[in-house]
Amino acid sequence: MMHTHPEAPIIAGGVYTIASMIEKKIRPHHLIDISKIRELKQLEIGPEIVRAGALASHTALMETFAVSPAFSAFSQRYTSPSIANIATVGGSMALKSSTEDLITILLVHDAFIRVRTTEGLSELPLDQYLNMDIRHALVEEVRFLNPTTVSAMFEKIALGISYIPLISAAARLDRDGRGGWICRIATSHQRGEIPGRIHEAETIIQQQGPGDEAINNAAKAVESTIDPVSDLMAPSWYRKRVAAVLVKRLLLKLRDGEWP
């Protein structure tokens, strides 16, 4: 179908699509609904890796990984259960938006995304996918580290009844088995309104370990590296500062084992 109708856009997520239709931002002549493709709803949980089909719901993830502090926070700070029941993993990924808390969380779980284009299937790191201008790509699956096997947390400052994040951050801190540290840090606004990992901050922790000074420096690196949008909710400088505070808080909690 992508070959025969190259002009047809792939629209991210039913929730977003219908809201956009109501607001007349989009006026599709025809809609092809893929929600009945059972294979895309599957959630395959391996001891180390989880594979989530694009149509797996946010609720399914929240319920499956309720013991994970990151996913528990995802659930606690979510807009509402009624939206989580219809929002999907694939919809969040395709939107590539700071409003999608799941992206920030999956970034610290080393997620890979499988997308289908007219050239075929490709699988790439989520961080790379977020920075690419891929059009006509159908998200099929996301695979990520099993949340029950890693130490990751998520936090966000949100406004309004929709709990839209002014800024959100996720962090992961694990031992690498050779005496070193694995650190992942991501925010909802790495560039403009696109989430992304903060490699500079991760490197500081991985090289120096999670001491107080390194954590302070990592937080400063977050503040100086990200380039968030300024909008009605907050100016860019404020988002940078809050991101640094959230990241510092998360790293300290992870280091000191302050699980919720």
Partner: protein, 153 residues
Amino acid sequence: MKQIRLNVNGSSYEVEVNDNERLVDVLRDKLGFKGVKEGCGVGDCGLCIVLVNGRPVNSCLVLAARLDGEDILTVEGLGSAENLHPLQRSYIEVGASQCGYCIPAALLVTHSLLSKNKRPSADEMRRHMRSVLCRCGSYLRFEEAVKVVVGDE
């Protein structure tokens, strides 16, 4: 147009829908379930919530054609004027309803929560009630109503 079957409140309905027709419109305008209210129409207020296979869903954000064969519960299926559901009785008892516009959705969200968890914590109740925007601010009364039903008061 597409012919679909919706199981609403325990009865089966054959209905013709357009591909782009929302569930809220089909339930209200084609099947006459006026207890389903529309508020914002973009998934913020939750007034249009119905239960699809037991889970709360904003009916303004779902295309009816997607739900062929699914089970839907609206407030009309919860109880009747002659035989109120215990939750409806407790809402009346504690005076949870002011303007009443959000009450069908609030009842369904509460019903869904209690079907999964007979004794939800206050945090859990509040998180679930976030699905519904009550402009009268009756949230504390919603919580009281749940306590009455579960026997805490």
